[in-house]
Symmetry: C2
Subunit: 205 residues, 2 copies
């Protein structure tokens, strides 16, 4: 009897550089273990700031400096050349996040492709994705008409789907980007990919 393994749930915020880093590696990791990846866009502004009552990383004394250094080191180690710096003003990620949920509903199966395109555009190419118009320009390369996409991103349905998705991520206890859930096991942080890998190999411990 062939059993089907549950997908790995991957939660990220488009404005999280650590989420971007993880997005580049999670599919290959999952594939090695015969798993698929289910992508979920979440909002740190809701989990970290509103629910946890914390400040954004870069506004946290001492930790902010560390994060600047740590992300640059990660990029060097993995040979990534990014036009956007972690210290650049952060975009409002809600348009990209609504777009993600619109794609998931109306172009099911393409949502990971959209997420990768948005991450790449924002972090590697340094594009501004803070408005629905700008996000909609990613549509044509995926076979989505930009005007149709724009209407979708601005729709009440996408707003409501994003709200529901964020509420669900909080119910599951997801607070950081990236977070991975394997079966019911949570792993938080791009530096936990190795641990997740070991966990999948060992079947837990």
């Amino acid at each position: 009897m062939k059993t089907t393994l549950e997908p790995i749930d991957f939660y990220f915020d488009f404005l999280s550089m650590y989420g971007y880093f993880a997005s580049l590696r999670i599919e290959a990791l999952a594939q090695r273990h015969g798993r698929k990846v289910r992508w979920h866009s979440m909002l740190l502004g809701v989990s970290v700031m509103k629910t946890m009552g914390l400040k954004p990383l870069l506004e946290t004394p001492l930790k902010g400096d560390y994060v600047i250094h740590d992300t640059a080191r990660y990029a060097r180690r993995h040979g990534l050349k990014l036009k956007r710096q972690v210290t650049d003003p952060m975009m409002d990620p809600r348009a990209a996040s609504r777009a993600f949920y619109w794609v998931r509903k109306h172009r099911a199966g393409q949502e990971a492709e959209f997420a990768r395109a948005a991450f790449d555009s924002y972090w590697r190419q340094g594009a501004d994705l803070s408005s629905a118009e700008q996000v909609a320009t990613l549509g044509p390369a995926m076979g989505i008409d930009a005007a149709v996409f724009l209407e979708g991103i601005e729709s009440d349905e996408a707003r409501s789907d994003l709200r529901d998705a964020v509420a669900k991520s909080l119910e599951k206890g997801v607070f950081g980007s990236p977070t991975f859930i394997v079966d019911t096991e949570h792993f938080w942080g791009s530096d936990r990919l190795e641990l997740l890998d070991e966990w999948l190999t060992a079947g837990g411990w």
Copy 2:
């Protein structure tokens, strides 16, 4: 010509379970790379709470639950049986920390031995180390008379040495436990030991 490598600076708070985890592995790691370890006791109450303005981990919604799960998983993976739970009331770590600096000054070379004994007593054996009297009971096994040790722990000198050490750790930008500094490179978190290991092997990147 033989060059001498700088020691690895290892910062920890006795009340940090992640600091305890790191204390069990840092010496072997350093040794593999021909380095010594310079141990430094610091106080999260000063760095995290006062300077960064954050709440203790376990009082942070969502993150608290994750930490409980993550530390238990780490302990299982590394075969550690601990009498103390991360959810137990936290001790005031200042007596143990003053003792550390007293040993470093008056029994130079034994401070790492003291730190390991205090960590073991608090975390593995579940002992209470919140008073100077209790900390002083760790002296005799190290050849330090308990009464002499108690006087040292309570001395103005030890209080002043601890204040200076904590101020210096903040000047260096150390905010979390554990933190490792190799040459001028900072690594934060027990889950960064692998990265530190790679860094030492590669000579940076």
